[in-house]
Structures are given as C-alpha cells and as structure tokens.
Amino acid sequence: MFPDWIIDVLLGLAAAFLLVVYVSWRATRLDRLHVRVETARAALDAALVRRAAVTLELAASRLLDPATSLVLATAAHQARTADADGREFAESDLSRALRAAVDQPGFAAGLDDRADDGGHVLEELASSAQKVVYARNFYNDAVAQARAARRKLLIRVLPLAGRAALPGFFEIDDDPPRL
C-alpha cells in the first residue's frame, strides 16, 4: 500500500484541482455576463440612434406642421449630440417630445391623409420607440446581474473581474408614444 503522505498529497492535489475548476467556472460566468452587458449596451445605443433618426426623418418629411417638425427635430438633435452626462436627460426629453407630438388631436389621421408613406413612417416610429423600451430593459437586466455577480465574495477577493468597469444602469423615461 501507499504510504500515508502520498494519499495526503493526492487528496491535496485533487482538492486544488477542483478549486481551480470551480474558480475558472465562476470566471467564465462573470466574463459571459460582461460580454452580455457590452452586447446589450451596443443594442441599446443602436436603438436610441435609430429612434432619433426616424424622428428626424419624420420632422424633415414635410408630413407634419412646421411647429411640430421643429419640436421633434430639436429634441432628436439634442439626443444625438448630448454628452455622456446629459444623455439620459436628452433621451427622456425626446420621449416626451414624441408623446406630445403624437398626442395632438388628429395626428395619425392627418399623416394618413397627406401621404401614402405616412403610415410607413408611423410604423417605423412605433417600432423604433418600442425597441428602445426592450433594449433598455435587457441592458438594465444584464447590468443588475453583472453587478450582483461582482458583489460575490469570491469575485471581490480574487481579481476575476479584471479591469472591467462596474457597469451603470441607463435610466430614462422611455414610455413610447401611443400610435
């Protein structure tokens, strides 16, 4: 039979191996969450850009009265050009401007009368506004899970998160206009 110390060493090695497997599994999970946050962030940015672009298209289309066009174009432009600090406010303002424009009496009917593609632009607008809601929800969901994972003891003790910054929530008023 083996001497006792060999058994101890083997047991020690087995325990160390299991620990390494476990830690690497946790690291993989955390990495996957970080990738998910980044993908969701890119989708959110794309959805916001799309919404602003559709709004500008609508404003420039001569389908609306000039005052509504001006309100929408200004809000969309400010959302596009806002810096990181002002982004959430500017995007919320765009949501409010869209709701105010669409809630005007006769908005959808007026568009339908004026051009064949009025319905098409409205469909685009509804779709892009709804996608902002979805993209933001999915991004914040990913952020919440990544932040919860980062709070775990193992992740805090070992440098498994690398130099990835702790992701922040994106909080805006994104209620879509009722089309």
Binding site: W25, T28, R29, R32, L33, R36, T39, A40, A42, A43, A46, A47, S127, Q130, K131, V133, Y134, A135, N137, F138, N140, D141, A142, A144, Q145, A148
Partner: protein
Amino acid sequence: MRIGIVCPYTWNVPGGVQQHVRDLAEALIGYGHGVSVITPADDDAQLPPYVVSAGRAVPVPYNGSVARLAFGFLSASRVRRWIHDGAFDVLHVHEPAAPSLGLLACWAAAGPIVGTFHASYEKSRVVSVTAPILRSALEKITGRIAVSEAARTTLVEHLGGDAVLIPNGVATARYATAEPLPGWPGDGGALGFLGRMDEPRKGLQVLLRAFETLGRERPGLRLLVAGPGDADDVLARVPADLRSRVVVLGLVSEEDKVRAYHSVDAFVAPNLGGESFGIVLAEAMSAGAPILASDIEAFDHVLRGGRAGVLFPTGDAAALAAAAGALLDDPARRERLSAAARAAVRAYDWSAVARDVLRVYETVTLGAGGVIATDGEG
C-alpha cells in the same frame, strides 16, 4: 430570420404554454420567418411540420404536483443536436425556470436567447433553494419577456433583474365564424354570459338582477349562461317565472364556446374587477358579438372608451338593464358595434403580439451573431 422555439411541456396535452407556443409559431411563420419548435411529445402524437419531438416527458413530483417534464442526458443531447442543426439566429425558450427542455436549451446554447416567463406563484422556500442552480443557466438569457404583470413580479422576486411585458394574444380568426347553437338567438332576443358562475367577481349576479327587469319587460328574451360552476345554484337565484328562459350550459367545449358567442344578440361582461385584460371579452369581440361591459379600467381600454362596445357603471344592474334594452331595440347599432369590436380586437391578435416579439428578437440579435451549441458548460 431563423427562430428556434423551445416548449417545455408535452405538445399533445392541452395547456396554456403549449397553446401560446403554437399560436406564436404560426403567427411568426405567417410573417415569413423560418420557425422550428422542439417539444416533448407522445410517440403517436400528430405534430405539425414545424414541430420536432424531443421524446416523451416523464411524470415526476415537482413543486407540490405531478408534472410531465423532459430531462436527463438523452433529452439534453437531442436539444443540443437540434440547436446545432438548426443554425438559428435566435433561440426562444419558454418557461426556462421549469426543469425541462427550456432549462436544457439554455444550458446547451450560447448566443442570443430570449426567455418567456409564464408562471406566477407566491414566493416559496423551494424556489429560494433552487435559485442558485437556475441562475447560471438563466444568466445566458439576453432578453426576458413576461406574459403578465403577475409573471413579471414572480420573476423579479425570485430571480432578480427585470423583463418586458408582452401579454398573450387572442387567435381572433378561431372565433370569427361559427354556426349558432340550435334555436339561438331566436326571435325574442338573447343575452350571453361566459365565465365562472360561482365567482362573484365575474358579476353573474348583476346580470341575473338585470334580467329580472328585462325578462319581465320582454316576454321572449332569453339568457344563455356558460362556464364552470353549479347550474342549479344559478337557477335557484332566478325567480320561478323567468327560470325557463335562463339556459345554463355549464362548462362547454372550445367549439361550443365559439358557437355560444355567435348565439346571442349581445354579450354581457358584468365583471366587478380583478380582470387584467379580459380574455373572454376579447374572444367575444373576435366573434363579432355586440358587447355590454362594466366600465372597469381594463374593459374601458379594450373597448376604446365605449366606441367598440357599450359600457355601464360597474355593478349597476338597473343601468345594465337600460343599456341592454336600448341595444336590443336597435339592430343597426348592434351591427355597428359588432364591426367596431372586430376592428378593436385586432390590436390583441397574435399577429400584433408576434410583431412585438419580433422587435425583441431584432433587439437581442443586433451584433450578437447566431446561436451556437456548446458542450453544456455552466
């Protein structure tokens, strides 16, 4: 778009999740997308062409009842092969927290995964124990959908995070045409009710009180009542002289339910509250029945503030009787309301729900590549 949908429960057993998956898949196919559904199914089950069987589900005790679930290595390898061969752009997993195909699919896949949560339950100790097991698989879901506020609350409380709300659709086409039941609606006029007869919040008692007035004013008027509950209890609440004109069908088949909607001159939804949407109301609207409904918020919304049906003050039997009388005397108005109801309910059709689900797919697939099969690491 190539869409892979995972249904956790046996396809040929009736159930809400299965029905949801079927209606969604068919609406997505209607938009021209490629859809494959994997589901447990009995060996002799007749499956539509877009459905792939993952084998039989096994009855096991789970969470206090016996559930039929598909799990184990054989199911897992079938799901993995299906994911690999399907080359999907997005994977849509239903009820991913149930220990069945959905959870296995999350385990075996990487890429854009959408999860739809159906169930709602109170917080239980069991769930707190299982949450860590579920977490690593559910972490892979990149877009979460809840079918109701209750399902969303359950998800948030048990697993954290959030979900977008996309309610169930109504298969309006299924209700659009049907033969009335033999002898209905008849010359004297007919009102209809469908819902739990012994559940006060469904408001049958309000309708029965209104019928005491209406039935005596109109000697030919009849009332058709369908739904679970005891028929004798209902008839006992009707005065003896009117009893012959109240027809209680009790629990009816799906087919007879559709025929019942087509058998009345007006459909009454006298609910006192507690309805988040009113699936019965939406079905009756799909059938083109003129609607008389209490003015609870959900009904007011579905009926477009009274343009797609008549609203009366909630619980007010006298107001219901007056509104029903006016409607029964005005066939032209019933015609208009019928058309308006059919038009208004289109917003709740599966085609509209599928459009929102497609927007979710487009959001999660953006820049994410396709779905790939993995060897099932954590």
